[in-house]
């Protein structure tokens, strides 16, 4: 029993943050995207592209910072395909997202063969962002929370900043107001002279940037190389986090923390289990929680009214 309780310690929380960060980044991005009215299930694919671009550009430049920027931009640019398909070409949002997920795998695999001569896993990058972990003097000495929040790696810090920025963006800025309006009543926005297309493209692009950052986190901060399949469903968990978080950045972040916590706990349960329980029972734990969260919480929160609805100004009638 003692050992069982021992797993609830500071390390568990640190582990939670580590596992939650990519989910949180993608989920915040998805939140902004869906608030603007575009359903995005392509996070998984965008993350793959971001992770890959980050590694490639770290190689080319020797600096993981360049890799980070490339990963973020790569995700953003790739997401614009989704934007073009759903906004300008009026394609069904879910379908476009599914297609993009498929396309991302093919493109990265092909490029990987071109760059590295083989698919699978890339070579290790010379230096990862993890090496740039730094403690904020003073703050990091706060017991428990100090090392948790103020002795972190760059993208984790970035995710904190993005959480704050996204909350401010949605609540305090003009753009945020426009994004919210675009997702609720796009025509209202268009009739007062703000281009819904532009706002929605912006929403998709931001979501792409953040998913790209999530991918970069996986490949050049939490690891030192890119493997196919390294995202392993995190994009979809992010989708669930966004919904359970009630389409708000802070909610999405908390939900991501919750899923990260479940995963961290799962690993520790495995370590602790003295009985021969198949590991699989633990591994499905986060997925079960995910279903419960979506089924239980979706009722209380409300999706933006025009989420997933096509917007075309000039109708023929």
């Amino acid at each position: 029993m003692n050992t069982f309780l021992a797993i609830f310690n500071a390390d568990l929380l640190v582990s939670t943050i580590r596992l939650a960060t990519p989910i949180a980044l993608a989920a915040i991005g998805a939140t902004i995207c869906e608030r603007s009215g575009i359903v995005n299930i392509a996070m998984e694919g965008i993350m793959v592209v971001g992770a890959f671009m980050a590694v490639v550009f770290t190689f080319l430049s020797g600096s993981p910072w360049v890799g980070l920027v490339a990963g973020i931009l790569g995700g953003g640019i790739f997401s614009l395909i989704h934007g073009a398909a759903t906004i300008s070409l009026h394609m069904d949002h879910t379908v476009s997202g599914a297609v993009l997920n498929i396309l991302a795998l093919g493109v990265t695999r092909y490029l990987m063969i071109l760059f590295y001569g083989h698919p699978g896993t890339t070579d290790s990058i010379p230096i990862s962002l993890k090496a740039y972990q730094f403690a904020i003097p003073g703050l990091s000495r706060i017991p428990l929370l100090g090392p948790l929040l103020f002795n972190q790696t760059p993208i984790v810090y970035l995710s904190f900043l993005i959480l704050i920025a996204a909350t401010i963006l949605m609540g305090k800025t003009k753009t945020g107001l426009h994004i919210r309006a675009a997702g609720e009543h796009p025509l209202a926005l268009e009739t007062i002279g703000v281009s819904v297309y532009k706002i929605r493209y912006l929403g998709v692009f931001i979501s792409g940037l953040l998913s790209g950052a999530a991918g970069a986190y996986l490949s050049i901060e939490n690891a030192v190389s890119f493997s196919e399949g390294m995202t392993s469903g995190k994009g979809f968990i992010a989708l669930a986090a966004m919904i359970s978080g009630g389409w708000s950045p802070i909610g999405a972040y908390l939900a991501a923390l919750f899923f990260g916590f479940a995963d961290a706990l799962q690993i520790r349960f495995q370590i602790m289990s003295r009985v021969r329980i198949p590991a699989e029972i633990f591994i499905i734990f986060p997925y079960v929680l995910c279903i419960i969260a979506v089924a239980g919480l979706v009722r209380r929160s409300r999706a933006p009214k025009a989420d997933g609805k096509d917007f075309m100004i000039e109708k023929s009638e």
Partner: protein, 418 residues
């Protein structure tokens, strides 16, 4: 109506069906002259149309059909052109590559294409029926696992006479998969939980739980020297091979493809000709109107997802009884996701899914052949697939491009006038 007028079309119909079935079987078994039978059936169909409808309307029908096929054909052509561009840019010779892609996919390894396509038809149908009801059954892969597990278990234990046994395995295992999909369906109806997330998560759960099943039904892990697989199912439960009646057919080619074809035709009948399929379509196209006209939306959502589960389960059963005869631990089939592609590509039309699945299967098989013989990365095939999908599903792209052209032409004409 006089008798001869009824008799002739009837005779034609019988001939068409016979030629079509024979031709399809032969063609699928790589007896390529079977294609001529299919062609003959097509000609007979046209003649029959002329007889029954008159030449004008028959012509119109053919024209309409051609129009329907325009987008897919143009989409495939466009993506081929893009693929050629990519190959040129990345330094490969597009002609040899495409040649080996098509030779490998459609001639040399045609049986592989057919084997690839078999499960895709089932999962494609599974997803299409969801789409028809306005649902996205993205977790078909999970239902596939359940079907596989159930089929393996029954295949190991059920020692009834061959035919009966196979039918029972199909029914029970696919039902198990269908039952598995009841959870997300009920959650959707009762709580509104989005099926994209729930079916996906249920798929993960099925996938991660499958090793437990494999270990429970496999050889003794203490002495096993190889990958954990279950034992082989009873031999009488194997699906028959083509080679048992067509000696030149590839030895692995099993009749699963024929079951898939029959299923596709049946689902086509169900969706377009039955009253229950009508309800599903009405719910998918306009749930509000369907409800106002007395159709239970919730019941049809559950029905569509359960049928989707059943069909995805059939994919697992067919693979188990026909091809693998056992279940592997690391089954990462990807049929769920490829099923989405073939369904979208076919516009969710069950008959169309047969062809898109064969195309997908051929691209996969041809891609393998291509990368083996030319050294071009097989991933190019994935890119081609992605582009085909985009160019066909984003139909608006054509009217957009068309409008562009028209308005530019108009502008030019106006300039000319001025």
């Amino acid at each position: 109506m006089n008798n001869s007028k009824k008799f002739l079309p009837g005779l034609f119909l019988v001939l068409i069906i016979v030629f079509l079935i024979l031709g399809a079987i032969l063609y699928l078994a790589a007896y390529f002259w079977g294609f001529f039978l299919i062609l003959l059936a097509g000609i007979l169909y046209f003649i029959r149309q002329v007889i029954t409808l008159g030449p004008a309307e028959a012509k119109l029908n053919v024209k309409l059909m051609g129009k329907k096929l325009m987008v897919p054909v143009v989409g495939i052509l466009c993506s081929m052109i893009l693929a050629i561009l990519i190959m040129i840019i990345t330094g490969y010779d597009p002609l040899t590559v495409l040649k080996s892609l098509f030779y490998g996919g459609f001639i040399r390894n045609w049986h592989v294409s057919v084997l690839n396509a078999t499960p895709l038809i089932f999962t494609g149908l599974s997803i299409a029926i969801g789409f028809k009801a306005g649902l996205f059954n993205i977790g078909a892969e999970g239902q596939y696992y359940i079907g596989t597990m159930a089929a393996t278990y029954l295949g190991l234990k059920l020692g009834l006479p061959p035919f009966l046994s196979i039918v029972l395995i199909y029914l029970i295992s696919a039902s198990a998969a269908a039952a598995y999909n009841i959870f997300p369906a009920v959650l959707k109806v009762k709580t509104g939980a989005h099926e994209v997330i729930t079916t996906m998560m249920f798929a993960h759960i099925a996938r991660y739980l499958s090793p437990i099943f494999v270990l429970a039904n496999g050889g003794d892990p203490a002495t096993s020297t190889h990958v954990y697989v279950t034992d082989e199912i009873i031999r009488t439960n194997f699906l028959p091979y083509f080679s048992s009646f067509l000696p030149e057919a590839n030895y692995r080619l099993h009749i699963g493809i024929l079951i898939a074809l029959i299923t596709a035709v049946a689902i086509n009948f169900f969706l377009n000709r039955s009253k229950y399929g009508y309800e599903i379509r009405a719910v998918g196209a306009n749930a509000d109107a369907a409800r106002a006209q007395g159709i239970s939306v919730g019941r049809n959502i559950i029905l569509a997802l359960v049928m989707g589960g059943f069909l995805a389960g059939m994919a697992g059963v067919t693979e188990t009884l026909g091809l693998n005869h056992k279940m592997f631990q690391n089954l990462d089939a990807g049929y769920g996701f490829n099923g989405i592609s073939v369904a979208l590509l076919a516009g969710n039309h069950p008959i169309g899914i047969i062809f898109t699945s064969l195309l997908w299967g051929a691209l996969d098989a041809g891609g393998q052949y291509m990368s083996r013989t030319t050294g071009v990365p097989g991933a190019i095939v994935e890119i081609i697939k992605g582009m085909i999908l985009f160019l066909i599903v984003a139909k608006y792209i054509y009217s957009w491009a068309g409008n562009r052209l028209v308005s530019r032409r108009k502008a030019r004409a106006e300039e000319g006038l001025a």
